[in-house]
């Protein structure tokens, strides 16, 4: 019994101090205005301000687009990857870029996308002329998708790899062609991976602020950017916390939507 308590203390302390307390605090803080007085004004402000509402809608819309782009690129990647010999090695190569500091990868795109950068040099070379690439919505989404691709490929790859190959044989044996086998067997069975991937990409995409600053050039304001601004620039912690609470709500909604509702069918592995 004593041994159990010995294990329990540090971990329980961590849960209380660093999991529960901060969440409670951010909720608590959201009820105070910039002068430290208790108020519901932050929520009223948020719900009535067209700026905040538009920002939320934009943020969700961009996160949706980023997730969609990432999914469209990642699913075929995971699918092809899964059919290669030495697939674990190739998967490792997909994951390797995630081990490189996020800031460095973003920094690389500043150089690539700049007015005189490599992409524009290439565009001029093929006769398309140079364009403003940096500080555009498209470049913001591209870099965000670039960073998220491995996090989408991994869960999809895993769920594809888990599919028993004899299920695919069975499908063909029962008369299905390749496309029918894909839509009726492979896709439904890989859905848990797709959902996990969406979760892993959508939530961070809502809260990105570093990429919006460096690549998006403050054109795109996400929920994350707004929180950062309120906390570190305008010092209006109450409003920042309010947006934080909204972000947490959004997170729960995403998890509820992508969560495995059909638990009964979840753990099938034969």
């Amino acid at each position: 019994m004593r041994q159990k308590a010995f294990f329990a203390v540090p971990y329980a302390l961590w849960i209380i101090l660093f999991v529960v307390a901060p969440l409670v605090l951010i909720f608590y803080q959201s009820f105070f205005n910039i002068d430290g007085q208790f108020t519901l004004g932050n929520y009223a402000n948020y719900l009535t301000s067209s700026v905040y509402l538009k920002m939320t809608v934009d943020s969700v819309w961009y996160a949706f687009l980023i997730t969609l782009v990432t999914l469209v690129i990642s699913y075929p990647t995971a699918y092809v990857l899964n059919r290669l010999p030495n697939k674990q090695f190739w998967l490792l190569l997909v994951i390797l870029p995630t081990w490189i500091n996020l800031l460095l990868k973003t920094y690389a795109f500043i150089g690539l996308f700049s007015q005189a950068g490599t992409i524009n040099q290439f565009l001029r070379f093929v006769g398309l002329g140079s364009h403003q690439l940096l500080f555009t919505d498209a470049s913001f989404m591209f870099v965000a998708a670039y960073i998220e691709i491995p996090f989408m490929v991994l869960p999809i790859f895993n769920s594809l790899a888990e599919i028993n190959p004899s299920l695919i044989n069975a499908s063909k044996d029962l008369g299905a062609n390749d496309w029918q086998t894909f839509t009726k067997v492979i896709w439904p069975l890989s859905l848990p991976g797709v959902k996990a991937g969406i979760q892993a990409v959508f939530i961070p995409s809502l809260s990105l602020f570093m990429i919006t600053r460096l690549i998006g050039g403050n054109r795109v304001i996400t929920l994350g950017t707004a929180i950062e601004e309120h906390f570190l620039t305008t010092q209006n912690w109450g409003m920042g916390s309010t947006i934080g609470v909204i972000l947490i709500l959004a997170m729960f909604i995403v998890m509820a939507v992508t969560g495995d509702r059909r638990k009964k069918k979840g753990g099938v592995r034969r």
């Binding site: 028993n164 069975a170 009964k264 099938v268």
Partner: protein
């Protein structure tokens, strides 16, 4: 379904060499062999998951080497059942019909029939995870049969079941096959299963068909050492064929029923353990000393050795004593003589030649 000189290689590895056979409609065939013998490869060639490296596979007189699996009138019951985990029982069974575009009502009707056939009435809405191993097996069979295939392939289909359930399913499968008149091709490494269920058995080893025939033929007249050893238990001892109907084992002459060999040809002699009777030394043709005795319920399994240290396996319903010297008695019909390296055709021809004489 016919195979003509089919060969299959994986890289340099020859898995099947010169496979040649024809399958008659409406019979129960079994491909029997140890693991790695190539029997599953034959099944995959029939199903269309692989194509032969050389040779020809015909179906209804048409070459089907390159017809993909989804366009063959062949369905498979997989070893691990391969039931779709995201569909319930009825959806699994309906899969093949939906692919073919069979109408909703017709599909529902045929699914119901198929589930009835495998005694799973009312299980349609169950999830696969809720089904036991034996029930999953039945779903897999129903899913294949509902398509009304001309040929049903069963790949080690019973190997995941426990012994009792397996014996039950053997009987059921056999009945199902008779009832429907569909050709079944069953792959197994279990010789008892093969003997119990089949009209025809093909024994596969090292990528070739060693012998094919009815269970009784194969059991009573194994072609070579491998078959004799693989099917049932056997005592195999070297001998010399002195003349027709006379074989010598260790210098002792025995009357037998085999003929058609060269005088003094070296042969192998097979005697099944259940054909050996234990008697007194005087009455027996052979004297042996009992080494071990195991009670197996129906009989005793006894091992013994003779003066020249050949080991003998005996199955006897009577008890004996370990260490005792006893006599072994057997009839001429119990002796089966095998020639070295005789092909199946030569074997059949030789049998015909002297059986006609009688």
């Amino acid at each position: 379904m016919e195979f003509h000189h089919v060969e299959r290689r994986f890289g340099d590895n020859v898995v099947l060499k010169d496979i040649d056979f024809a399958i008659e409609a409406g019979k129960f065939y079994t491909l029997l062999g140890p693991s790695g013998s190539g029997k599953t490869t034959i099944l995959r060639l029939i199903a269309g998951f692989n194509s032969p490296t050389s040779g020809e596979i015909d179906f209804d007189g048409k070459r089907i080497n390159d017809v993909p699996a989804n366009r063959r009138q062949v369905n498979t019951v997989f070893q691990d059942y391969a039931l779709f985990p995201h569909m319930n029982v009825a959806e699994n069974v309906a899969f093949g019909l939906q692919i073919k575009g069979v109408g909703k009502q017709e599909t529902a009707k045929r699914v119901k029939e198929a589930l009835h056939l495998v005694q799973l009435d009312g299980y349609g809405e169950r999830e696969i995870t809720e089904m036991s191993g034996g029930q999953r097996q039945r779903v897999a069979i129903a899913r294949a049969l509902v398509n009304r295939p001309k040929l049903l392939l069963l790949d080690e289909a019973l190997s995941a079941l426990d012994h009792k359930l397996r014996v039950e399913m053997q009987t059921e499968l056999r009945q199902l096959q008779r009832q429907l008149g569909i050709t079944f091709i069953f792959v197994t490494h279990d010789q008892e299963e093969a003997l119990a269920m089949s009209d025809q058995i093909m024994i596969i080893n090292d990528g070739t068909i060693q012998q094919s025939g009815t269970p009784v033929d194969i059991y009573d007249e194994p072609l070579n050492h491998f078959v004799a050893d693989f099917i049932g238990e056997s005592n195999i001892v070297p001998g010399i064929m002195k003349a027709d109907y006379l074989v010598t084992i260790d210098g002792q002459d025995f009357e037998c029923v085999d003929a058609g060999m060269r005088p003094n040809e070296r042969v192998e002699v097979v005697i099944r353990p259940e054909d050996l009777d234990i008697t007194t030394v005087e009455k027996g043709q052979l004297a042996v000393t009992v080494d071990t005795q195991l009670f197996r319920g129906v009989d005793y399994q006894i091992t013994a050795h003779d003066q020249r240290n050949h080991e003998w396996k005996i199955n006897s319903i009577h008890k004996t004593t370990v260490g005792a010297t006893v006599g072994l008695a057997f009839d001429p019909e119990d002796i089966h003589v095998m020639r070295y390296n005789e092909s199946e055709e030569d074997f059949d021809a030789r049998l015909d030649s002297y059986e006609e004489d009688e």
